[in-house]
């Protein structure tokens, strides 16, 4: 059964391979071939696959593709581009927040969710919001600084 949803602002249609196919696999395969959401664990434990669904952070590795029918999905690509980055992406770059960078998709998407709910989060609130996102390289403190920087910029 084809499903219809909005992907990074555009209406799209796709057919999941099976009813238990997670959204992540649909987003990463043709024709979308997106790279922002990354496979990390398939268990909703690390956050590397995070996307926004109707504005809220969701782990796409454990979210059935079928369930996005009629919903709005936003990925890292939809947030901003290298030429025109979102304030969070620009702040992560400015702070050097990311070494291998693999986890940064989840960090940025989870932070986008946070900033949509809390325009000026404290350091502890940022750490709490990202507490379920794993980073192996140890870029944590720079990521917290980046979220603060982005929040300050977005608040004007």
């Amino acid at each position: 059964m084809p499903i219809r949803f909005t992907l990074n602002g555009k209406p799209v249609e796709a057919e999941p391979a099976a009813s238990d196919m997670p959204l992540l696999y649909l987003l990463r395969e043709e024709p979308f071939a997106l790279n922002g959401p990354r496979f990390g664990c398939g268990l909703a434990q690390c956050g590397a696959c995070t996307v926004l669904i109707d504005g809220r952070a969701v782990r796409s590795c454990s979210y059935p593709a079928e369930a996005v029918e009629g919903q709005a999905v936003m990925t890292l690509e939809g947030l901003g581009t290298a030429a025109n980055p979102h304030p969070l992406q620009a702040a992560f770059h400015a702070e050097g927040a990311g070494q291998c960078g693999y986890c940064t998709n989840g960090m940025i998407m989870q932070s986008a969710d946070l900033l949509s709910q809390n325009r000026r989060p404290s350091e502890d609130e940022i750490k709490e919001a990202l507490a379920q996102n794993l980073c192996r390289c140890g870029g944590h403190n720079r990521m917290v600084a980046a979220v603060r920087r982005a929040a300050a910029q977005m608040a004007g």
């Binding site: 099976a18 790279n35 990390g40 398939g42 890292l76 947030l79 960078g101 192996r136 140890g138 403190n141």
Partner: protein, 740 residues
């Protein structure tokens, strides 16, 4: 930022690099000059200037988050007088790059940095000669700036590098006497520069191996045995009859392949397989005693002076202790992945490997191909921090590509594959004896430790094992014996022995700061025990036994930035409620030959439940001449966080021969709220050689943390990780033992 070279274009073919670099109007230049096969030691093997004046620095060293793309580009840009943005370090490709060895051991800047510098300086001198001739002036009349040779005091008279050499070869040997810029003239190096690859990674680009999609590509999953050494006994194909996927079986290698990735995932999940029993291994409780009983292949005596036996007998006080470090996994966030294709008699393997040339040899041997028939192309991966599953996935994928030729195959390991089947940081144990004089000086030190003989012969790929074809093992790396000696020359009698044992239960791999993390934990914790027994301040005690001025400088700097309060440990008595706070220090000179680091950690202990936390970490690091201070800072921060994570609770568990810690719930990493404030001070030595910073700071974290917990509570932790149960046991032990 100026437009960067296209990485995607650079990965296609040997010639692709030059397509990416661009040779407008000179289509024959590449063929005529044979740029793609320069002699391995030529300037051209490392420095290429394209027709548009950009520079590519070629090396087999790989970037996986440690910032070498920036540092190597800085070195080349500096010597060539090119803007930083005009220099790129493309992905290694065994068809195109010189073999500078694998990436590891914090050796990239130390080994390749000076070679790139000399090659670039030689290139610049050649460009000066060409430019002066072109401009019709003497060598003394020209200078280089902004990618051109120009007449001094007449900057409009200039000859851009693109016109002088673009797309052609220098045909020069690196000249060790070429003029290298003194530090005072640096404009690009010696200061922070942004990492060129980062923004793409933050915006959904980034040439990760996971993102590589080739036309007609199949998706594969290898089904690894749950038990060590087990093989499929029977496979029930009917169990996945409803899924559009096919089973591929070759010897012990069992895989499923599908057109759509999810079909491969669920086929691997649903396929019913009966496994053989596999091999028996020691239990978790027995693993250290088993190491002591394992046959020794070699013995290293890492220090031997005086007569420790006599000195111990004569010492006023003697201490003995055993330290051990748990079996750990690399914990890569993105599980290993590879793409391979066998077409036209040639196998191309795309991988995030640390060692493209060594991997090429291993794959060629496993599959019965000649080295020239195999090409390995590097792509970014998720931080591996040692030899994780990337090479295994690459070799498995290569084997599948041979079966499914000419279609390209993508193999993505699942989380349980990475946690379960990648090689492990082995168990390490060390017994130590020490003696102090009546005046409280170290008089004797005697230790022996047990480490894997080699991560060379023991580290065959999973594909090599499953196909039962020798692959020669991995390249030499690891040096598990390193820093097993105390770094203090003031100890008059010291002997440290390391037993290199024939095997460990799981394939032993190098994992960030191999051996030094485990050995420095033992050595610097035991040093702290001796200091406490002597009732000396831990910083003062170390300085009293160390003559090396650079070593003393990092210890003093760490103590200064941490605002160290000088007194013996443990603090005793202080603290509010159930919490106790303390501070600890540790020091290393990496491999006894290079980077110096000292670390102070402030820790907090909950006496009720054994929970521990590092609240602050202060690092002082001297890695010689500084190329990118932000890169050093970033690596020091990463070393603190990652090693604290390894100290807190990271430990592989197994039952029988089955690893049971197959996800992040059972093998938890440190989380944001647990990460301490981190302060890094870099001691720049502009006139000294450059040394690496990726690993050394990791070595001092476990002992500094353990020493801080001792300072807070009097409880000594001799077994890492410091799980709450172990902390509670140590607290109970400390309560029963009167403080010295």
């Amino acid at each position: 930022m100026k437009a960067m070279l296209s990485r995607r274009a650079a990965l296609t073919a040997g010639a692709g690099l030059f397509v990416a670099l661009g040779l407008p109007g000179a289509p024959g230049a590449l063929a005529q000059t044979n740029l793609s096969n320069p002699p391995a030691t030529d300037v051209d093997s490392m420095i290429v200037i394209s027709a548009d004046g950009r520079c590519a620095v070629l090396t087999s060293k790989t970037e996986f988050g440690q910032g070498i793309l920036a540092s190597l580009a800085q070195i080349a840009a500096e010597e060539l007088d090119l803007p930083y943005e005009m220099v790129e370090v493309p992905h290694p490709d065994t068809d195109r790059m010189p073999d500078h060895g694998l990436t590891g051991g914090s050796a990239t800047l130390q080994v390749v940095g000076p070679r790139v510098r000399i090659a670039a300086a030689t290139a610049r001198a050649a460009l000066v000669r060409m430019g002066a001739e072109r401009l019709g002036v003497t060598l003394e009349a020209v200078e280089t700036a902004d990618g051109a040779v120009r007449v001094k005091n007449a900057p409009d008279r200039r000859a851009p590098y693109a016109e002088l050499i673009g797309g052609r070869r220098f045909d020069l040997q690196p000249d060790p006497n070429a003029r290298v810029k003194p530090r005072a003239e640096w404009k690009v190096a010696g200061r922070p520069q942004p990492r060129p690859e980062l923004l793409a990674k933050l915006t959904g680009g980034g040439d990760y191996i996971h993102n590589l999609r080739l036309p007609g590509m199949l998706h594969a999953r290898v089904i690894h045995a749950p038990g060590l050494g087990a093989e499929p006994a029977s496979v029930d194909a009917s169990s996945i009859a409803e899924i559009p996927a096919r089973i591929v079986r070759r010897n012990g290698l069992l895989a499923v392949v599908a057109e759509r990735e999810w079909d491969a995932v669920r086929a691997a999940r649903d396929l019913k397989v009966e496994w053989t029993a596999g091999k028996a291994i020691p239990s978790m409780e027995e693993v250290y005693d088993a190491a002591r009983r394992t046959p020794e292949v070699r013995q290293d005596v890492t220090v031997n002076r005086g007569n420790p036996e006599t000195a111990l007998t004569e010492a006023a006080m003697r201490l003995e202790a055993t330290y051990s470090f748990g079996v750990q996994t690399h914990g890569t966030i993105g599980p290993s992945c590879a793409v391979a294709q066998f077409e036209g008699g040639r196998l191309t393997v795309h991988s995030g490997t640390q060692a493209p040339f060594d991997l090429r040899e291993q794959i060629a041997k496993t599959l019965g191909l000649g080295s020239p028939e195999v090409r390995v192309v590097y792509h970014h991966s998720s931080g591996c921090f040692g030899r994780n599953g990337l090479e295994d996935a690459a070799a498995e994928c290569a084997a599948l590509a041979m079966e499914l030729a000419p279609r390209p195959v993508r193999l993505q390991w699942m989380r349980h594959d990475e946690h379960g089947s990648e090689p492990k940081g082995p168990p390490v144990v060390m017994d130590l004896k020490g003696g102090i004089t009546a005046e409280g000086r170290m008089a004797a030190w005697d230790s022996e430790g047990w480490v894997p003989h080699s991560t060379v012969t023991l580290l065959r790929t999973t594909a090599s094992q499953l196909l039962d074809k020798e692959d020669g093992g991995a390249p030499g790396s690891g040096n598990w014996h390193a820093n097993s000696n105390p770094p203090y020359d003031g100890i008059p009698a010291a002997k440290t022995v390391v037993h290199r044992i024939a095997e460990t239960p799981f394939r032993p791999s190098w994992i960030r700061t191999p051996g030094r993390v485990q050995n420095c934990f033992a050595v610097e914790s035991f040093t702290d025990e001796l200091a406490a027994a002597a009732r000396k301040d831990p910083v003062r005690f170390r300085l009293d036994h160390l003559s090396d001025p650079r070593g003393r400088a990092v210890i003093e700097a760490a103590a200064r930035i941490a605002n160290w309060d000088e007194r013996p440990s443990p603090r005793g008595g202080e603290g509010s409620g159930n919490f106790r706070r303390g501070r600890g220090i540790a020091y290393i000179r990496y491999d006894n030959t290079r980077t110096y680091v000292a670390c102070v950690i402030a820790a907090e202990v909950n006496l009720d439940n054994g929970a521990i936390r590092a609240t602050d970490a202060w690092i002082a690091e001297d890695c010689g001449q500084v190329i990118n201070p932000d890169g050093i800072r970033m690596q020091a921060e990463g070393c603190v966080v990652q090693t604290l994570s390894r100290c807190l609770r990271e430990e592989i568990a197994w039952e029988g021969n089955r690893i049971t810690t197959l996800d992040w719930a059972s093998y938890p990493l440190i989380t944001f709220p647990e990460v301490p404030r981190i302060t890094v001070e870099i001691l720049d030595r502009p006139d000294q050689p450059m040394w690496g910073a990726g690993e050394p700071a990791a070595a001092v974290i476990a002992p500094a943390f353990g020493n801080a917990i001792f300072d807070a509570t009097g409880a000594r932790l001799r077994r890492a990780p410091f799980t709450p149960e172990r902390v509670k046991a140590a607290l109970n032990g400390a309560a029963k033992t009167p403080l010295p």
